[in-house]
Point group: C2
Chain length 431, copies 2
């Protein structure tokens, strides 16, 4: 008995696209058993067909997107080109033809999800994006189905493998600088030649807008989100963090304050050593969430790489294989996202870690203490350590304090001649 | 515009049933937004309608299962009675009427899943059971969809909250006995009045047969599985475990050796302190798995309780809300489970921890060492500790050794007059 076919078209054949092809080969029988359908790659659009044909002579490469868009047998397209353009146009054209879309593209969704969801809805299609956040971890469908009985109160994510790998190595080999770990990571293939998107936190910020949509049903753009990267994390900060009982992680954070007010931000955070997120090491990702029914839960796994990401793409194909046709059958699509206020970073309260280089002279501590006093900042820990004959390092952990007070204090500290530099400012804790 | 209804019948209204009702109330609007359907409880079967009517006068209690079975408007039944009977008959009758079934009943599935899946298939229905394993953690659907592109190589689960709570408390308060922690747990509601199912490992063994089905597509019964409980774990063992760098956890283990051979077993295990499972504390559950594409992944959350379990039941209702009708639409049902050989425990190899009470006299260690030598068991660690004037405690950790060699050695050790007792035998490590 021949099974009904699910014919797919691939846009792109890079590392993820090749992973999709490999898994569809190796798992062909088990996927047929699972879905009662035969999944077949009908066409693969790449720019340079010639180059690919040499390596994969048996694969159906095409040199024009139209060969996929205009093929009515292709019901599903998989967009694994990455980047904003031409991916956006190809996805929109596919949706307009009623094709289901699977995409692994966090930048595309981070920037244009509202428009894409609207197009999908208009044309009774659907768009799936499990692979866009957390690689092989089934985080999107867990929010959309597994935890869908819950009001999500908060989530905290380690969503970038490159920066988590770098922070882990810095923590394991105390004293190694970010620059030296990064160059090691690049030579091992754990970091891109141009790592700006990762290091700056922008990659995580895109992913946060996607998680905010599925967890809170809200529509926020990257410009609504305060994000910072790990550029200024120093090996000294890692060492002090451990001394105080923390690991430094680059966290994406989402919290519901009330029906219309949310905290959404990305920055390095000192995570208490016993929190499950503190033990997420190397290139692994994780999302720790709290729902009103399920309580605390965490999902953990590989956030990138050819096969983990392709594994997520194929999980979307399995959902599509079970989808019916016509209005109401789109199980992934949601369009009732609300525009809401994101609380300004200045209005938030948190604990802070600061590391200052100061002149080691009489009266300096008094002047610094006065700045904190003026700004109603109370100190929890303080360590002063001699650097050389005339300078010292001063490390401070505060109690909870409004961000704007701390920002004022930092401006004032920088004006003191005795403060040579404010080396690091890192937020502490998950509350 | 009124939405199409999804009318459900409840069998049972205990702690999970009440949780389902509460969440359907509180999340009514968001579930409608998510599914474009209105989910309504049409009838609730309980034995003693009178008693419930007083507390919940507005709810549609019925005193006969037929009021649900014979109501053609009810398309979905939720079985939350627990236990084998009459749950089994009610589920079969429901499937025969073509109703979708959602069940939280690990004993029912552990014993009868093949028969139930067959009935569902015969009558073009489907049976969902996210709540039967791991409470609120979306572990079943992760195996069925999220990780479905993978050959699962192994999984290790902490699947019983009561025993994990007890082991955690014993570890945190070194020296407290199992009996005393258990009685505390009972008074706090973390353990049943009769905790036999939990303590003996039987509860975990039922759950393991269910995970084996969804992860490996194999049909094994509880009688195929070697299972042990935590009855003989002593506070001394917990203390030594920590000293050697381990936490003791009651683990369900599944490993694929080759296409037709599997390891499936439940027993207390010394888990290396840095493994993610070692930090799963209190009543939390977790499943750590390795897939050929996704690599290592872990899901973590609350494994029991009214709302976490109800949250899982409702996630199944969401899937059902999106299901089409007729043959081929059943997205959860799989019937191609193979009967396979489960490797006998005697044929497995592992490391062992042993704790002996011995006479503290000249030559005893030589005799004990001879027993290990005869059985080709090589020792990794050994601690002898004086107990009183004439006896001592001897703690041993071995290298990897076949189970049957260790079983021989234990028989021979017990025959030595110098060995007063073999207090504990605990397997070490996850390999």
């Amino acid at each position: 008995m021949s099974l009904p076919m699910l014919r797919i078209g691939l846009f792109g054949f890079g590392t993820v696209g090749q992973g999709v092809w490999k898994i569809l080969q190796s798992q062909s029988q088990s996927l047929q058993n699972r879905t009662s359908r035969e999944i077949q790659i009908e066409a693969i659009y790449v720019r340079d067909v010639g180059r690919y044909k040499i390596q994969y002579p048996e694969l159906p490469f095409v040199n024009s997107p139209d060969a996929i868009l205009n093929n009515p047998d292709i019901g599903v397209v998989v967009e694994v080109m990455g980047g904003e353009n031409p991916a956006k146009e190809l996805v929109i054209q596919s949706l307009r033809k009623g094709k289901r879309v699977v995409t692994a593209n966090k930048e595309l969704l981070g920037k244009h999800k509202s428009e894409l969801f609207h197009e999908a809805s208009l044309h009774h299609s659907d768009i799936y994006f499990e692979a866009a956040v957390g690689g092989g971890i089934p985080i999107i469908r867990s929010f959309k189905v597994g935890f869908s009985a819950n009001s999500i109160q908060s989530f905290f994510g380690i969503l970038n493998g490159t920066t988590n790998y770098i922070l882990t190595k810095m923590s394991e080999t105390e004293g190694q600088s970010l620059a030296s770990v990064l160059s090691e990571a690049q030579s091992l293939g754990f970091a891109e030649a141009d790592p700006t998107m990762d290091i700056s936190g922008a990659d995580v910020a895109y992913k946060l807008t996607i998680l905010a949509a599925v967890a809170f049903k809200i529509d926020v753009g990257i410009s609504d989100i305060h994000f910072e990267g790990i550029e200024s994390i120093d090996s000294d900060d890692i060492a002090y963090a451990r001394q105080f009982g923390y690991e430094i992680k680059l966290l994406a954070m989402g919290k519901q304050l009330d029906a219309n007010s949310f905290v959404l931000k990305v920055h390095p955070t000192m995570v208490p050593i016993h929190h499950p997120l503190a033990s997420v090491r190397d290139e692994f990702n994780a999302v720790f969430l709290t729902g009103d029914s399920v309580g605390e839960a965490m999902l953990y796994g590989k956030g990138a790489g050819s096969l983990p990401t392709a594994s997520a793409v194929i999980s979307d194909l399995i959902d599509i294989a079970f989808e019916g046709q016509g209005p109401g059958s789109a199980r992934n699509l949601e369009t009732n996202y609300r525009k809401v206020a994101v609380e300004k970073i200045e209005d938030q309260e948190t604990r802070f870690y600061l590391r200052l280089n100061i002149q080691d002279i009489f009266g300096v501590l008094e002047k610094i203490a006065a700045v904190f006093g003026t700004n109603h900042i109370s100190l929890a820990n303080l360590i002063q350590k001699e650097r050389d004959e005339s300078t010292a390092q001063l490390v401070i952990v505060t109690h909870k304090v409004p961000e704007k007070n701390m920002q004022n204090a930092i401006v004032q500290l920088k004006q003191l001649v005795e403060v040579l530099s404010v080396q690091s400012v890192i937020r502490v804790g998950l509350d």
